[in-house]
C-alpha cells in the first residue's frame, strides 16, 4: 500500500524526502477493490442491523391472511392500521384486554418521577463529592461504583423485604426508589466527573462571597451543567423505559410498565398468535427510546460512552 502511495503521490507543498510518505491528501480513485470491500462489509452489517426494524414495521401493517401466506420480506399489499389499533386498545395482556395503552401510561408514570428523582440525587451527590468532600466520601463512592457491577438478583429479595416493611411494595414509589438506587452509580460518576472539570475558582469565589452549599449548587453549578443533564436525561429515560425486571418485581399488577405488558401480549397469549398485533405492539414499545435516539443523535452516543468511561 505504501509503495503505490509513493508512486502516485500528489504534489504537496512540502517536498517529500525519498522513502517517506508524501504529505497532504493523496488522490484517491473511488472504486478501488479495497474501497468496494470496505463498503460491502459495512452495507452487509447495516442490513443485519436494519432487517429487524424493517420486518417489524412491515409486519405490523399487514393483515393476518397475508402474513400466513408467508413472506416476511414482502411489503404489505394494502396498508392497514387495524393491528396498531388493536395493539393499543384491545390486545390481551394476561387477564385484561385493554391493549398496551395502560402499560404506556404506567411507563410514563414510572419514568418521569424516576428520572427526575434519580438525576437530582445524583447531581447533588456528585457536587458533594467534588466540592464538599469529607472523610470517607471517596470510599463510599468507590463501593458505589463497584456495587454497580453486582447482579441485581443479589439485591432483589432483600429489597422486596425492605419495600414491604415500608409498605410500598407493589407501588410506584417502590419502582422509583429502586430505579434511583440503581441509577445512582453511573449518574453520580457522570456528575462527579463533570463538576470536577469545572474551574474550582468559581466555587471558591462563591464561598468567599458567603454562598452556602445549596445556593452554590442551584445558582452556579446547575446553570453550568446543562449538557451533562441532557446526557443523564437520555441515559435514564431510555434505561428506565426499557427496564423489565424492576417493573415486574416491584411495580405491582396495577402499574406494570409497557415492556412487561408487551411481553405478556406476545408470550402468554391464548389462541392463535396475531403476529401483526405483536409487531405493532413491539414497535409501539420501542418508539419512545427510538425517538429519543434519533432526536438526540450525538448526545446519545455521548451518553452511552459516558456510561462506559470510568473516572
Amino acid at each position: 500500500m505504501s509503495q503505490t502511495a509513493t508512486m502516485s503521490g500528489s504534489a504537496p507543498t512540502t517536498t517529500p524526502t525519498a522513502g517517506t510518505e508524501p504529505r497532504g491528501p493523496r488522490p484517491k480513485p473511488f472504486f478501488t477493490p479495497k474501497k468496494i470491500m470496505l463498503y460491502a462489509t459495512l452495507v452487509f452489517f447495516s442490513l443485519y442491523f436494519l432487517f429487524p426494524l424493517y420486518v417489524m414495521v412491515v409486519t405490523s401493517f399487514k393483515t393476518m391472511p397475508e402474513i400466513r401466506f408467508g413472506n416476511i420480506f414482502a411489503l404489505p399489499n394494502q396498508i392497514t392500521l387495524d393491528a396498531w389499533f388493536k395493539a393499543w386498545t384491545s390486545a390481551c395482556t394476561g387477564l385484561t384486554c385493554e391493549g398496551l395503552s395502560p402499560g404506556f401510561w404506567n411507563s410514563v408514570k414510572i419514568t418521569i418521577p424516576s428520572t427526575v428523582v434519580s438525576i437530582f440525587i445524583a447531581a447533588v451527590n456528585g457536587y458533594a463529592l467534588v466540592n464538599w468532600r469529607f472523610k470517607g466520601s471517596e470510599i463510599f463512592f468507590s463501593i458505589l461504583i463497584f456495587g454497580s457491577f453486582i447482579p441485581y438478583q443479589v439485591f432483589l429479595y432483600p429489597l422486596v423485604m425492605i419495600t414491604r416493611e415500608l409498605g410500598i411494595f407493589g407501588s410506584l414509589q417502590a419502582v422509583i426508589i429502586v430505579h434511583t438506587i440503581f441509577g445512582m452509580p453511573i449518574l453520580t460518576l457522570l456528575f462527579r466527573n463533570y463538576f470536577a472539570s469545572l474551574p474550582v475558582e468559581l466555587f471558591k469565589a462563591a464561598r468567599v462571597d458567603g454562598a452556602g452549599f445549596w445556593r452554590i449548587f442551584f445558582e452556579i453549578m446547575l446553570p453550568m451543567s446543562l449538557p451533562i443533564f441532557v446526557v443523564a436525561l437520555i441515559l435514564q429515560v431510555t434505561g428506565i423505559w426499557n427496564d423489565f425486571l424492576f417493573g415486574v418485581v416491584f411495580a405491582g399488577t396495577q402499574n406494570l410498565p409497557m415492556t412487561v405488558q408487551l411481553n405478556n401480549i406476545v408470550n402468554s397469549a391464548q389462541g392463535s398468535p396475531e403476529y401483526n398485533v405483536n409487531m405493532a405492539a413491539t414497535v409501539l414499545t420501542g418508539l419512545v427510546p427510538l425517538i429519543i435516539y434519533f432526536v438526540s443523535g450525538k448526545l446519545f452516543v455521548r451518553g452511552v460512552a459516558a456510561g462506559a468511561v470510568k473516572g
Binding site: R68, R133, F140, P151, Y157
Partner: protein, 312 residues
C-alpha cells in the same frame, strides 16, 4: 428524672470533646446531608443486602426468609439440580461466544468506520440504534424473524429454496446461537462506538511512524494500536461481561428458557425460585453464586485498574 441526668451527662461529654463531635458530624454538615442517599445506598443496599443474601443462602428458607441455618445444603442441592447446571453451561457458552463476537465484530466495524469513509454518521446511526431498544423488544422481533413456519425459514422455503433451514429457536442444540444473534444485534453497535473512540484516541504520530517504518496497516492495528487501546478494551470487556452475567430479559422474551430447559440462564433460575417456586433459600444460593462469578471477573480488573497505578 433519670432521663435528664443522662442527658446532662451526655451534654457534659459533648462539651468536653467538641472537636471529635465536630469532626464527625457538624463539620461540612451540608456535604454529609447531601451524601445521605449515597451512603444509604452503599450501606443498606450494596453492603447490607449483599450480606443478607449471602447469610440467608445458608438457611432452609422456603416461602419466607425465616429458616434455620443449614450450612451448604442449598449449594449442594443447587449443583445437583440439572436445571442450574444447564443454566451455568448455557451462560458460559453464550458468554464466551458473545464476548468474542462482540469484541471482534465491534473492533472490525470500528476499524472500517475509521477509514475516513463517507456517510459515517449514517452508518453509526444504523449500527447503534438497536442499543436504544430494550431486550424485550429485541427478543420479540427476533422471535418473529426466527419463527420456523412464517419467519425467515418459511419465507425462503415459499420462495423456492426448499432445503433452507433456520430453526435455531426451536432446536435445543442451536437455541443459544439464536440468543447470540439477537444479543449481538443489540450490543455490537455500542462496542463499535467504544472501540472507535479508542481508535480516535490513538495519536496520529503513531500512524505516521508505523508508515515510515513500512509496517502493513493490519499489522499496525494488531501490534501497535490494539495494545495502546488497553483502557478501552478493558472497559468493554468489563461492561460486556457484567451484561452477560445479568442476561435475563432477552431470554424471557426470545425463548422463555425453551425448548425445554435448553436456554435457561442463572438470572432466570434465581427469579423463578424466589418469586415462582417458593424456595427462597435456593434462589438466594443461586444469586450468591452469581455474585461470586462477578467477583471473579471484577477483582482482577479492579486490582489491575486501581491497585497498580493511579490512572485518571
Amino acid at each position: 428524672m433519670a432521663d435528664t441526668a443522662v442527658h446532662t451527662r451526655e451534654g457534659a461529654e459533648q462539651a468536653a470533646r467538641p472537636s471529635l463531635l465536630n469532626r464527625i458530624f457538624l463539620h461540612n454538615l451540608s456535604g454529609k446531608i447531601a451524601a445521605i442517599p449515597m451512603m444509604a445506598t452503599v450501606l443498606i443496599v450494596f453492603i447490607g443486602c449483599t450480606v443478607w443474601t449471602i447469610y440467608f443462602s445458608f438457611t432452609n428458607s422456603r416461602l419466607l426468609p425465616t429458616g434455620k441455618f443449614v450450612g451448604f445444603d442449598q449449594y449442594e442441592r443447587l449443583f445437583a439440580t440439572s436445571r442450574w447446571n444447564v443454566s451455568v453451561t448455557n451462560l458460559v457458552t453464550y458468554g464466551v461466544f458473545s464476548l468474542v463476537f462482540t469484541l471482534g465484530i465491534g473492533f472490525l466495524l470500528a476499524v472500517l468506520m475509521d477509514q475516513k469513509i463517507r456517510f459515517e454518521s449514517a452508518f453509526r446511526t444504523i449500527m447503534l440504534y438497536p442499543f436504544a431498544l430494550s431486550f424485550i423488544v429485541t427478543g420479540l422481533v427476533w422471535q418473529w424473524i426466527m419463527n420456523p413456519t412464517l419467519g425467515l425459514q418459511g419465507t425462503m422455503r415459499n420462495l423456492g429454496w426448499e432445503s433452507f433451514t433456520f430453526d435455531w429457536i426451536a432446536n435445543p442444540r442451536m437455541v443459544l446461537f439464536a440468543l447470540l444473534i439477537a444479543g449481538l444485534w443489540q450490543g455490537v453497535g455500542f462496542c463499535m462506538v467504544l472501540m472507535l473512540a479508542g481508535l480516535r484516541g490513538v495519536d496520529e504520530e503513531i500512524w505516521k511512524a508505523a508508515r515510515v517504518d513500512g509496517i502493513p496497516t493490519w499489522r499496525t492495528y494488531v501490534s501497535v494500536v490494539l495494545p495502546m487501546m488497553r483502557g478501552v478494551l478493558v472497559t468493554a470487556v468489563v461492561l460486556i461481561g457484567s451484561g452477560i452475567v445479568r442476561l435475563y430479559d432477552l431470554v424471557v422474551a426470545l425463548t422463555n428458557g425453551g425448548p425445554g430447559i435448553s436456554s435457561e440462564v442463572p438470572a432466570k433460575y434465581v427469579y423463578n425460585y424466589m418469586f415462582g417456586g417458593g424456595n427462597i433459600g435456593q434462589g438466594l444460593a443461586a444469586a450468591t453464586m452469581m455474585l461470586v462469578t462477578v467477583l471473579i471477573i471484577m477483582v482482577p480488573w479492579a486490582y489491575l485498574e486501581f491497585g497498580g497505578r493511579g490512572r485518571r
